[in-house]
Each structure stands twice: as C-alpha cells, then as structure tokens.
Symmetry: none
Subunit: 255 residues, 2 copies
Amino acid sequence: MVADNADGGADTPAVILVRPQLAENIGTTARAMLNCGLTDLRLVAPRQSPLADKAIAASAGADSVLRAARIFDNTESAITDLQHVYATTGRNRFMVKPVETPRRAAAGMRDFIAVGQRCGVLFGPERTGLENDDVALADIVVTVPLNPDYCSLNLAQSVLIIGYEWFQAGDPAEPRAMTKGAQPPATRQELLGFFRHLEDELDACNFFRVTEKRPSMVRNIRNLFERADLTAQEVRTLHGIVGELVTLRQPKNNG
Amino acid sequence: MVADNADGGADTPAVILVRPQLAENIGTTARAMLNCGLTDLRLVAPRQSPLADKAIAASAGADSVLRAARIFDNTESAITDLQHVYATTGRNRFMVKPVETPRRAAAGMRDFIAVGQRCGVLFGPERTGLENDDVALADIVVTVPLNPDYCSLNLAQSVLIIGYEWFQAGDPAEPRAMTKGAQPPATRQELLGFFRHLEDELDACNFFRVTEKRPSMVRNIRNLFERADLTAQEVRTLHGIVGELVTLRQPKNNG
C-alpha cells in the first residue's frame, strides 16, 4: 500500500502505531483519534488486525478509522510521504534532537500543514515504547509532561493527548461563554426595578436597622446580584420570590 | 466521612465521580489522576467498590488513589468543603452558567488553590453523564472542545484531559489577582444551607405551585446564585434577607 493514497492524510497528522500488541488498543486509539478529528491511522507490523472484533468493539463507533487504516512492514515505509515526523517517548533517549511538549508540537504541525507539509506522530508498542531506531527516524521528540513519580499513559491516552492538543491548536477557544440559550441578559432598567422592589421590602421589614449602614448594605446586596449577570427571566423570577415571600406578611387577616 | 479530613485535597482539585457504574473505570480514573498528580478521589454512590479487583488491576499501580478514595451518598455531601465546583458535560445544558475549556478551568483552579480555596470537578456516570441536578450544584461547566461529529470520551479520558491541563497549568503562571479582597468565597455547605433555607420558605408560601416544575425552578434559582460566586458574608446577608422578609409572615400576633 502506498501512503500517498491516504484519504484524509494531507490536512491532519498521521498517527503511526509501531508494532502495537493488542487489537483493543488499536480500537481505543481509533476512538481517541476520531474524537480529535484525526483519521489517518497507520500500523507498522501490528500483532493483531485493526479489524479484529476486539478492535472494532473498543473503537466505540470509530470503526471508520480502523477500516481506513493502512498496514506497513516497517516504520520507514510508513512515513515515506511525511515531511515532519514526531516520536513520542516517555523518557529521555539522550539523542541530539529537539524535545517538544504536545502543545508545542501541535502548534508546529498546524504550521507545517498550513503550508502543505505532511506530518505524522510515531507511537511505540504498549510495554516498551519506541525503539531507538524508530526514534532516530523522527526529527522531533514529543514528551508529555506528567507526574515524574508516576507516568503510566497507555497507548490510546498518549494518542488522545497529542490529538487533543492538535484539536485545540486549530480552534482558538472561545473566551468564557455563557450558555444562556435564547435568554437575553436583563437590561439595567430591569435590574434596577428588582433592586427597588427588594429594597422597598427590606425597608418595610426594617432590615436596615442602622441608618448609616444602609448605603453600604444596599451596595453589597446589589453587587452580589450584579455579579450573577442575570437574564431578564431570572429578574422576573427574583421579583416573584420577593413578592411571594412577603405576601403573607401583610396582616390581611388580622382585621 | 467528612470531606475536611482529606489527605491531599487542599492543594489539588478533587475528582468526584458521580454514580460510576464500573469498577474498571474507577481504576483507570485513578491511573489518569496519578499521572497528573491528583490524589483526592471522591465517589458518589458508586455501583462497585473502588477496591474491587477490577479497579485495582485497571489502576495499573495507582491503587494508592483507590485506597484513599472516599465514598459519599450524594453529590451534595461530596462537595461540602469545596469553594469552586466544576461540572464536566459533553453537551450544552442550556443553564445560565459559565462554560470553560479544560485549559481555562485549569488556570482558574490553579489561581483558586494558590490563594487557599478548594476546587473539585464532577464527572457523571459513564453512559448518561451528569444529571441536571448535579450540574446545578456546580458554578462552572467544563466542556472539552473536540470533534463535534464524534465526541465519545470515556470517563478516564475525560479525567485525563482535565488532569493533563491541570498539570500543564502548574508551570509558570502567576496567580491572577482576585478582586474580593479578604473575603473568602462561601463553601458549598454554606451555599447549600442558603438554598435549603430559601427553598423551605418558598415551599411554605407555595411559590412552586406546579409540582412538576419545582425541580427545574429550583435548579434555575440555584444557578443564578451560584453564578454570583458568593462570599461567606454574602451568604449570611442572603440568609438575613430571606429571614427578615418572612418574619412577620408567621401569624404570631393573630392569636
């Protein structure tokens, strides 16, 4: 099979599993890839088929990635079409090679692919990781910064971290958005209407006992509601709450 | 069990699994946590024990996290000591609540913890995710930006992404300035105490006329107060407001 015939390999990085041992891990890798919009899966001398039942089951619906996966005899033939190859390693190999975080590598791959250059990332076998000969084929090493006392990512988790950073690098995350659905925020007029309602009722029940403190207390109360960035509907709800709480307070039935 | 007795809960976010179904997923969660330096695992009504064989095996050596895990009957009791609660969701709940990426949430949690405030992240059951009532207990929603056409993170992968971002955020960032001066934010226990007070009074005045609508109305009301990021003092003020508004409602002088 020729790598140049890749379906979706040009505009996303290839994920290259070198000698993966278990079909299940090929499946979970496919799942992690598709989560991150990656579809170009290449397998170097896998011990089990990407179409084994366990792989399909573990892919949790990402079997399209498995079906498009391509199998190669050795690492070299799997990367012939690539211009930039990254090798993931969990430990320092003491090679003279740049070592990048996933975040930096993702930004780099975005840049390369934006100018039409192909990228791929090598992942080693589950237990042993990449051999030095495989790492030597890469131009850049990627290491995930994690707890130095316990670093035990499985194959699909390593793929997920790289894919996650790839996805984030392409999607300048929206600043803190509010999920308000169709709810418009309250106008200041609506907000002030609620403040007056509340403060009138608080005056009526003598909440502001110490007159000199009333202004600062009012400010503090207004503050906390202002911080909530209320919708118009929520202001109506608050009106309702205050109204109901005080309804029975009127000595209506005393006469 | 009392959450305040957490061993390592003060300087790292708590990971709170709400009604996890499978012991294996508790184990892989522990593994993902320890990879990222997280150790405070809390389980709400788990169907299987964190010390089940499958959990221990799946933890791949992170069983220290499982052994220290604490079990709670409900979500509320699992978060009483926390000051900032994040809810992970895969889809928009149309609640009026800030939605953050894992990266932003991690930076926020670093800032909070740097000034001594406790944080935790809620993760829902495997198949269904968090219920709206659980999401309503959080002040911030976290959603992982991933392939919109295929977003199928499993439990441990979600935990890994949050933990990974937490770990990455630990390097240089200076804590951002907090704008509340010396006022500490309310604990969830304080906030829940206010909610109960308010809801009891609203029940007493028959505010929730339509029984079926009560849960969603309660959620909406809790939401708006949670967004305000209340201080302990402000919660006391709100108690005072509700208390005063209803004081004369009692027919004390009717006899």
